[in-house]
Symmetry: C2
Subunit: 332 residues, 2 copies
């Protein structure tokens, strides 16, 4: 049983809520995927067809120019080149050290593995390296999460102390917290998503929107690998650039994880998907118990309706840990 | 303040602990990355050099066979082919529908985006699709986390009810929980990591170890994209195969997330990195308060030394949520 103030929740009510909401959740998930499928198909399908057609035209022109190549020979050449490209061999005479299994490339690969970005511009090919990669990721991913948690926590504390200073300067405390919270959101947006593309466009020759796309795809750990920094052999990359990018990845991931957590907590409020507890009295489900999830598991962090009903509370809960506590902020 | 039983923690002690442990943590993180860098460099560097050398040799042979091609022409051809390959055009006459921006490919891309696997075998190229991709991921990643949390929770409940049934059958309750917990670990290992490679080797023609590597890299959401299912144009893929793989990804990710959470909670015990609370009395830091982290934030879920000292407790805490509660399992 969860604790001294909690009363047992009838098992049937928990079950009765969990099953339909799980079904609803899966339906919403499938609908969301269907939406994505449709939009990507509509947006990319035509462009990809055009690109494929233009490549086929280029191929025919090439066959006409180089009369010694026939269709099958060119196809087998293409297959060889794609195979060699996928296996990370340097196809052209000049490649950057980031694109090879040298010191910098190996470090970059290690970072992209434990952060689960996984660009895939390099991937291990020997059996020993693959086995090591699995073990390395198995311990490295949790270690990376510990570091991100710690950094996120330091950021939260900085925001909190900022809010306290604002409050001390004669501001209304709740207004000071709002100011500090939205200031943190905006400065993170500026520092981690809006300014870095300027650096990337200067150093890599990308457009601003390409740099923004790369920034988001990297920090969200999706990491398609269509854009990777430091891979253009015709450019010189200073040492501070790679170090700055490493720090940007680390702090930016911690910041974006906070934002995603915030959206997660908004999605997980029961008003959205599971509404059968709505009319329960507060006495039945004491506030601090809700904080620990309906089954008492301490990792659930979604504030529940009836405890902290405003979306504002969730934002404060994520940005000011020291004022948001098990008492649901009753004291603040 | 956290709640009725908690006493204020002196701010200095909290600060004094957080800063050196953060430094230690970052040092450990860097050391871990350095280890990875060294091992990958040693294991892959030589193999990549060999592969690069053999490709250069092939290129020279090709130049000798096809006398109409000169060095620069071949280099520019290679550049074109790699560019076209990266932009997802179907280079050869036959590609599978998974590798194109058609219905199946778009669905697969949507899944790989919101799960943050990000294989990168397909990536959007129009500005509109990239912008939509960012918005889609921003809402989709939290939605996917909600679904994974729910599935993980259902799995935990299944394990718990299994333990209860074992306990009801005359087994010692703690032994029954151990049995159910390790049974769940082993059956997950079998179902999500050891058996699927057999299916992949049958359907894709990979070796068992390639399939195992693909399984881990996919479920951990690293997703290099060096191996992607359904991409071999010379094979026929039945419909049930793609559906089975989708279910495998969903449940396997939920299972591996539980395992990674478990390792995370073992890494986050203060005995490892932050030891200045060790000699505090239990009275100073009541058990349930520890459960909510040193700053009262409810999302911290690492059991702390002095509360639940055995690693066993963490395993049970992750596998049996209903018996592990705010009372630190005192009741079980």
């Amino acid at each position: 049983m969860p604790g001294p103030r909690a009363r047992p929740v009838p098992e049937d009510r928990v079950r009765g809520c969990a099953v339909p909401s799980t079904l609803l959740l899966l339906l919403a998930y499938l609908a969301y995927l269907a939406l994505g499928t449709g939009v990507f198909w509509a947006l990319e399908g035509r462009a990809a067809q055009d690109s494929s057609r233009s490549f086929q035209r280029d191929k025919w022109e090439l066959l006409q120019n180089f009369t010694c190549l026939d269709g099958p020979a060119l196809d087998s050449l293409i297959r060889d080149i794609v195979q060699a490209y996928k296996s990370g061999a340097s196809l052209l005479s000049n490649t950057t050290s980031m694109g090879r299994w040298e010191l910098v490339g190996s470090f970059f690969f290690s970072v992209s593995t434990i952060t689960t970005i996984g660009y895939g511009n390099l991937s291990p090919h020997t059996m020993a390296a693959r086995l090591f990669c699995i073990l390395f990721a198995l311990m490295g991913i949790p270690l990376n999460l510990v570091v991100l948690n710690r950094l996120g926590h330091l950021m939260q504390r900085a925001v909190h102390s900022c809010a306290r200073r604002l409050g001390g300067a004669g501001q209304d405390p709740s207004k000071a917290q709002w100011l500090a919270g939205s200031g943190a959101l905006l400065s993170g947006l500026l520092l981690f998503l809006l300014l870095p593309p300027l650096l990337f466009s200067h150093m890599e020759g990308w457009t601003y929107s390409e740099g923004f796309y790369f920034s988001f795809i990297t920090l969200s750990t999706v990491g398609f690998g269509d854009y990777v920094i430091g891979m253009n052999p015709s450019r010189r990359y200073p040492v501070w650039y790679k170090n700055t990018v490493s720090l940007w990845i680390l702090f930016g991931m911690a910041w974006l994880a906070l934002i995603i957590k915030l959206i997660l907590s908004l999605l997980e409020t029961p008003g959205g998907l599971c509404s059968c507890y709505h009319h329960s009295s507060k006495e039945d489900f004491p506030c601090w118990r809700w904080r620990q999830g309906p089954h008492g598991e301490p990792e659930s962090h979604a504030p529940q309706q009836g405890c902290c009903p405003e979306g504002l509370m969730e934002i404060r809960h994520h940005l000011e840990p020291s004022t948001q506590s098990a008492g649901c902020g009753m004291d603040s």
